[in-house]
């Protein structure tokens, strides 16, 4: 028995894509494999690490805990969509660069999307709030100090 494929239309970073995927295709895999948007990383694939975090209608969600079929009708924003319109780095990306907020970069896309939405809701976080903003994302390299600094720097730049 061949598996049923679903025709779906996804809007990612403002661009409309039509794809044919089985219902079990996770949004994270659809982005990476079907759309070639490999900026979204997958680590644990069960919601714990945060590397796959994307914005769904502006709110951070785990792309590994969402089926692509369930994202129909929503606006998806990935790390590729965080640059300024002229292609230069967006404020959160710029802050990561300035503060050395990454080493291997595996976790970075999830931090960038999470912090982008976090600063929109709370543009001037306290140090404690900046820590809390990234508490749901894991990084195995940096020790988090420079990531928290980057949150604070991004708040200045935004």
């Amino acid at each position: 028995m061949s598996e049923t494929l679903h025709e779906l239309r996804l809007v990612v970073n403002g661009v409309t894509h039509d794809l044919r995927v089985p219902a079990r295709r996770l949004l994270s895999d659809a982005l990476r494999q079907d759309l070639g948007l490999t900026g979204t990383h997958v680590g644990c694939e069960h919601g714990v690490c945060g590397a796959c975090t994307v914005l769904l209608d502006g709110r951070p969600v785990r792309a590994c805990l969402l089926f692509a079929v369930s994202a129909v009708g929503c606006e998806v924003t990935t790390v590729e969509g965080l640059t300024n319109p002229d292609g230069s780095l967006g404020p959160v990306q710029q802050a990561f660069l300035e503060c050395h907020g990454l080493q291997c970069g595996f976790c970075t896309p999830g931090f960038l999307t999470t912090i982008t939405a976090g600063l929109r809701d709370n543009p001037a976080p306290t140090h404690e709030e900046a820590r809390e903003m990234v508490a749901g994302n894991l990084c195995r390299c940096t020790g988090y100090q420079n990531i928290v600094r980057a949150v604070e720097r991004a708040a200045e730049l935004s």
């Binding site: 598996e3 219902a23 079990r24 996770l26 769904l56 951070p60 805990l65 369930s70 508490a135």
Partner: protein, 273 residues
């Protein structure tokens, strides 16, 4: 792809959704997916049909009345947590929700889904049990209300029939002069608790409900217990067990410390009202 293949249905009416569940004894409801999708990806569950209820209308409302709060099945933890009316009516709901996972998970996970997932490590089933709330379900046999006491029958197991969909949950309002508090110990803010405690103080009545300490929510009556004996009384009633996260002795210590602390906070809350 990690999950096993399944047929995917996204009904637009409750009747259709119930029908889809009745038609396949192996079907599962998908709400926020924050508990179900990990189980599918790890292949701990492999339902033949997924009934995605996110297309149903009328299940996204938060209604605050004089006597309590009704929460629709598609209300996300994050929206319930941010709701001012809920905070005023039953402050224990946001106090506990702040400890449910991380903000990103709360953006998608539903509070009703968490109640019917019935995880002993989840905060909201303990809160519903303590407050004496209920869950409204609809199935092929019609609609009924399940009291919190009758909801959870075992770890990850509820009294819902296979074709019943939870449509809303009911959290009674906090009575004037009563107080509530919540606290938990977790490795990091947002992780599942090693031990969590919710307390409701009403006049002379002192009751506590526990997270991650027993297989199903247990409410312990601590009325009339002297302050110094609260922790031991709770441990005696609960008898916490070992697991990979903590030893029984450590968990008992957390019960002792948190029970005293949270009862004191709930009393303070009552005095301020």
């Amino acid at each position: 792809m990690k999950p096993a293949p399944f047929s995917y249905l996204r009904p637009t009416s409750l009747a259709e959704a119930v029908q889809a569940l009745s038609a396949d004894p192996d079907a599962k409801v998908l709400a926020g997916g924050q508990s179900l999708v990990p189980l599918l990806s790890m292949r701990l569950a492999a339902p033949s049909t997924i009934v995605d209820i996110n297309g149903l209308t009328g299940l996204s409302d938060i209604e605050v009345g004089d006597d309590g709060v009704r929460v629709g099945a598609l209300v996300r933890h994050a929206d319930l947590l941010a709701h001012d009316g809920v905070r005023r009516s039953q402050p224990l709901v946001p106090l506990a929700l702040a400890h449910v996972a991380h903000a990103t998970i709360r953006n998608r996970g539903t509070t009703v889904g968490s109640l019917v997932h019935a995880d002993a490590a989840a905060e909201m089933p303990a809160v519903l049990a303590l407050l004496g709330g209920s869950v409204e379900v609809v199935g092929s046999a019609g609609a009924r209300t399940i009291d919190a006491d009758d909801l959870v029958v075992g770890p990850l197991e509820t009294s819902l029939a296979h074709d019943e969909i939870a449509v809303s949950a009911w959290f009674p309002a906090l009575a004037p002069g009563a107080g509530v508090a919540f606290d938990e110990i977790a490795r990091r803010q947002g992780d599942y608790a090693l031990c969590g405690v919710a307390v409701l103080v009403e006049g002379d009545s002192v009751r506590a409900s526990y997270v991650s300490v027993s297989d199903v929510p247990v409410v312990v009556d601590l009325s009339g217990v002297a302050d110094d004996d609260l922790g031991d009384a709770a441990v005696a009633a609960l008898d916490p067990a070992d697991d990979i996260h903590a030893t029984a002795a450590y968990r008992a210590q957390l019960v002792r410390v948190l029970t005293r602390r949270v009862v004191a906070a709930a009393r303070e809350g009552a005095d301020r009202r």
